[in-house]
């Protein structure tokens, strides 16, 4: 089971280039708003038409500009969970789910499938309610039920948690994860939240201004993002241009420091990054004098911003993030970071 997408589309000043391949499980499409994520889902669903390229799902061509194939959305068997869930406001929860069962002609079979879906998604109590009368979580379950009863070959989720209050989000992520684990086909999930992507997706492609990076497994991607855009979107706060100065050494002119690295530096290095959590006062490695600049208090952590001595005034301050009880009384004069935590960026 696989989905192969190779499409390009111009709209206005924006150029979408989506080339990726996914095989089963949940693939995240992670990127900032307006980076072409939803447009790509719409192209896959057949709601929008790409300018060129092809879309192949489980060996079946949904779209091919050269062979002039462009199946209508009705023929693609692609489940699409919209950001606002798109429940039909004129129908009850039950009727909405029945819309996903319209292909089942036998009445008793249809009723049985409906009953099963209402039970599975805990919607029995609200089955006769209109969408305006149910909670956000129930709305999401109704939309999912409506899609899954239609047995789609691919499931696409567009920012599935953005319409929910933050305290509900985590619970629904658990719920959705459970639901997805029993779904057999590939799943695409669009999100701009790295936490959501990390929790829900086994692999991830990153969109940067319309261009898709190759799909990578989630954990290696977070451990070694490899590019500026991937470092930024996976939440790296400290990113700068760098040059190779040795097999295990890089220079960061902006910060006026030289880092030793654990990974071998390849030619063509463009930059380095490190996560705000990994700075510490104990290590002697990559230890440099620092000047305190400002601070931000969060519920459970401190964010301390500083500059390296001699750091260029144009570059942004460095983030250091640490748990509240770990904060030293006096801001340290020097900070170090383990070579293994220096991430190397090549594009």
């Amino acid at each position: 089971m696989s989905l192969e997408v190779n499409i390009e589309k111009n709209f206005g000043a924006f150029h979408l280039k989506a080339h990726f391949l996914t095989e089963g499980s949940v693939t995240g499409i992670l990127g900032a708003s307006g980076s072409g994520k939803s447009m790509t889902l719409k192209c896959i669903a057949g709601i929008e038409t790409p300018d060129s390229g092809s879309i192949v799902l489980n060996g079946k061509t949904l779209f091919d500009s050269e062979k002039h194939i462009n199946l209508p959305p009705q023929k693609r068997q692609v489940g699409y969970l919209f950001q606002n869930y798109a429940l039909f406001p004129n129908m009850t929860v039950k009727k909405n789910i029945l819309c996903g069962l319209h292909a089942v002609k036998d009445r008793s079979e249809r009723e049985a499938l409906l009953k099963e879906a209402l039970r599975r998604f805990q919607l029995e109590d609200v089955s006769d309610h209109k969408p305006s009368e149910i909670s956000g979580g129930q709305a999401q379950r109704t939309a999912l039920a409506r899609i899954l009863v239609s047995a789609p070959k691919l499931l696409m989720l567009d920012e599935p948690f953005s319409a929910l209050d933050s305290h509900l989000r985590l619970r629904l992520q658990l719920e959705l994860k459970e639901t997805l684990s029993s779904y057999k086909g590939p799943v695409l999930m669009v999100t701009h939240s790295r936490d959501e992507a990390y929790r829900m997706c086994g692999s991830i492609t990153i969109t940067d201004n319309g261009v898709f990076s190759p799909v990578r497994e989630t954990k290696p991607l977070f451990a070694d993002p490899g590019s500026f855009s991937a470092a930024a979107i996976t939440g790296c706060k400290n990113i700068a241009a760098a040059v190779k100065t040795g097999e295990y050494e890089v220079e960061v002119p902006e910060w006026n420091v030289r880092f030793r690295t654990a990974r071998k530096v390849r030619d063509g290095l463009k930059g380095v990054a490190f996560r705000a959590h990994y700075l510490n006062t104990r290590t002697n490695e990559n230890r440099f004098p620092v000047l305190f600049e400002s601070e931000l208090e969060e519920p459970f952590e401190w964010v301390l911003l500083f500059r390296y001595e001699g750091q260029s005034p144009e570059s942004s301050p460095i983030w250091w993030r640490l748990p509240k009880d770990k904060r030293p009384q006096v801001f340290p004069k020097e900070l170090g970071i383990a070579p293994a935590n220096i991430l190397l960026l090549y594009e």
Binding site: A45, P72, Q74, F82, F88, P89, C99, S132
Partner: protein, 225 residues
């Protein structure tokens, strides 16, 4: 004083038939035109809305130029079907139809434009046909707006005077409508009867507007929820 009720009946049937015709035509035009490219849309929009701002007499004049017994359409219909398109009760249907069309078209278009397209998209991905989506989702969701447009068109059709009087004239018991009757009675100094018809007209119009307001309230509440 004995009132001849023919004008009420005539007005009602003209208004009803023209509203039904315009209901379908207006919705069809609104739905189709929403999909056209901007330039075409702009042109058609001006053309279709024009009767709303033209003096009814100008509409009447233009209709006479087309439907008159010696004009293209009028002559053809007369020779083929033997039907006269002017000076009959049903000729008023054309006049009111043209005048109320923009009302229906405009309100229907407004309703369609505020329709959330993701509803149609999600229905398509569920495999539902476009016709089904139109009748079972788009129309019901836009129902209140379309209904308000229909009622408003009906009210306007009942009140149509200018174009109607030009194309049907005034023949008691044959083409007289409420509005032409009021004018005729006033002209012939039958003040008491004219007043009677004025009251009838006021009552009907007030009821219709009340209905429109109620529908709009309900639509607002629905959108909020």
């Amino acid at each position: 004083m004995k009132l001849d009720w023919f004008p009420l009946w005539n007005s009602l049937r003209i208004a009803l038939i023209s509203t039904i015709m315009v209901f379908f035509l207006g919705i069809f035009a609104a739905f189709k035109i929403a999909k056209y490219p901007r330039a075409v849309k702009g042109f058609l929009d001006v053309f279709l809305t024009l009767p709303l701002v033209l003096p009814p007499t100008v509409v009447g004049y233009l209709l006479l130029r087309v439907l008159g017994p010696n004009r293209i359409v009028g002559k053809w219909v007369l020779s083929v079907f033997g039907l006269k398109l002017t000076m009959t009760w049903y000729s008023a249907i054309f006049a009111t139809g043209v005048v109320i069309f923009p009302l229906m078209y405009r309100t229907a278009r407004g309703a369609f434009e505020s329709f959330d397209q993701t509803l149609a998209f999600s229905a398509q991905t569920l495999g539902l046909s476009n016709t089904w989506i139109f009748w079972r989702i788009r129309i019901p969701v836009c129902r209140q707006g379309i209904l308000a447009g229909t009622v408003l068109s009906f009210a306007r059709a009942l009140g149509e005077y200018g174009a109607t009087s030009m194309i049907t004239g005034y023949t008691p018991g044959r083409t007289a409508t409420i509005s032409t009757t009021v004018y005729q009675l006033w002209r012939t100094n039958s003040d008491a009867e004219a007043f009677c018809w004025v009251m009838v007209n006021l009552a009907i119009s007030a009821m219709v507007l009340l209905a429109v307001n109620m529908l709009e309230e309900r639509q607002k509440r629905r959108l909020k929820a």
